[in-house]
Symmetry: C2
Subunit: 341 residues, 2 copies
């Protein structure tokens, strides 16, 4: 049961530990004969190098940390899938932590990962994170850090994102193109950078088309666990406040589906009375009725790109090259479905 070590192999063959180690790693200064003997015995004894010792010696563990605000979330779980797929290819393991959109937890988790001495960290930050010292600490310690989706613009590190502003502009433009004259917006949290950018994209589209921006048409959602209810609630409120609205661009698909449901309950026809565009392209949006026009957010690709960038930096550091931070912007696309004309 107890694990076989290099020393045990060395003793059985009457050679030194160093030779065994070198034989297994095909060093040139071991004779083929010895290599053969060592490898054979290693196989029969089912020798597995002790990862703890290797880590200690090499100062790396081929393990990275991933901090994500939520796991039960179509977009984020796709990101994870992308990260895991790429990590597997490169022989890395991934420790996953969920910050629950809490700054305090996020901070604690960063410290946990640093203590664990992971080789690098991938993170999508919590909505509530305002202070970034825990993150700059990572960089100061010389560990690669790559942010994705929910990033801190101020931090100097690589980032993988979509152009939220442009995507939101596209979404709003689509409403305008399909004939909407008065367009509301259900935005996300006031302090979330993504929500801000999407809001700005909405506004920009209006202005470019000579629509008058009306702040009373903008409703706020927390976009947390009760997104669906928030969508319903805001949709009802919207109908009370503004009878003339004929289009809504909504920050997140789940909120949009809530709105869709509320409209159905109140006998409002989508898209005849009101058109809706969501954001993210959750699977659900394609099977709901009417199906939801939305912006496709490439989660799997984002995860893949984030890990690739981290791996690149890991290699650069190993070769003690200067690390080049990159900002990678992935394409979004408008997915036209039945909630718009």
């Amino acid at each position: 049961m107890s694990q076989v070590t290099l020393m045990q192999i060395a003793e059985k063959l009457n050679i030194s530990v160093s030779t065994v180690s070198k034989a297994l790693k095909d060093y040139p200064d071991v004779s083929d004969k010895t290599k053969g003997l060592v490898k054979e015995l290693a196989k029969t004894l089912n020798y597995q190098p002790n990862a703890f010792a290797v880590n200690l010696r090499t100062k790396e563990s081929k393990t990275i940390g991933l901090i994500i605000p939520a796991i039960v979330h179509h977009f984020f779980s796709n990101v994870i899938k992308g990260i895991l797929a790429q990590a597997e290819k490169k022989g890395y393991l991934v420790i996953i932590l969920q910050s629950n959109e809490s700054y305090e937890l996020e901070k604690k988790q960063i410290n946990l990962l640093l203590r664990q001495r992971v080789d690098g960290i991938l993170i999508s930050i919590a909505n509530t994170t305002r202070n970034f010292t825990h993150l700059s600490d990572v960089i100061t310690q010389g560990k690669p850090l790559v942010m994705f989706d929910k990033i801190a613009k101020i931090l100097e590190c690589s980032k993988v994102v979509i152009d939220d502003r442009k995507a939101a502009k596209d979404a709003t433009q689509h409403l305008i193109d399909t004939g909407c004259k008065r367009i509301a917006h259900f935005r996300g949290p006031l302090l979330s950078q993504n929500s801000i950018d999407r809001f700005l994209g909405y506004k920009e589209a209006l202005e470019e088309n000579n629509f008058i921006y009306d702040s009373s048409l903008v409703y706020i959602c927390e976009c947390g666990d009760s997104s669906f209810e928030e969508g319903k609630f805001n949709a009802k409120k919207l109908l009370q406040d503004h009878k003339d609205v004929d289009g809504v661009f909504i920050n997140t698909d789940l909120v949009a589906i809530g709105a869709l449901t509320a409209f159905a309950e109140m006998g409002i026809k989508v898209p005849d009375d009101i058109s809706i565009v969501g954001f993210s392209n959750w699977f659900m949006s394609s099977v709901i009725s009417p199906s939801l026009t939305t912006i496709n957010q490439p989660g799997f690709e984002m995860g893949k790109a984030a890990f690739k960038q981290l791996h690149k930096e890991l290699k650069q550091r190993k070769k003690s090259k200067t690390v080049v931070y990159e900002k990678i912007i992935l394409d979004t696309a408008l997915v036209k479905r039945d909630s718009t004309k």
Copy 2:
């Protein structure tokens, strides 16, 4: 940048490494004065024990492995959430791997985790896994293994499951209770134990109510990435084959939603013409129209219970008590919605 070690602290204070180590861990044979000095210096230097060295010395890493068939999956992502929540409480980290329902990958991943010397492993096995030696190897190596949801009955280890058979029986009984006379079943893969059990539950309910079991009413789905399409396809086929069916019990919500969509497209009224019961209670099922009657599968609780059991075994081993394997069966519940009368 480079990390502070016990030796550096020892040198600065002109004491030995062992005393520093003991001071930080509040050993009784260090004077309060020395403890004070050590702890203060450790704090100002921001000393963090080298996890690699600690692991090597203590032979444990406070890290467990988790292998799961799919991550982008409402139920499984909830399980992960439960595991992470519980692991966090107990100070454990979790390395997550996705087997993609592939036996080969699963085997490779188990070996990866063993090489990494995680303290224990949680797994929900792939549909294609028939051979369990890679899993019994884990147990032979003296590492705790806990299986959940998709288990191998033959393996001697702790398990956390639901009673698929009973849940399926409840679902079918509900169709009977609401007046269905001829009930079809869309089952999952022939070799998946869960699918088998659900099928048996369906059959049992029929027999207990003196319905005649008709194998032509049972349709098979792979329940992979194209579950939704499978549901649509089978629904259409069902309508062609059997005009008289007025109820369907479906192995998975996503397939059920596909069926729901197909029925809507073909003008079949749910539940008036046909009633449908799904399985899992995906969030989606509550927002779709008509909303789907289904069986609630407690993912979060399952994850929590699985980690708890693993942790219990970890503690038992440490105290070298005999490890007691447990089979934990969590409650399911029928969630009545609008797809049944």
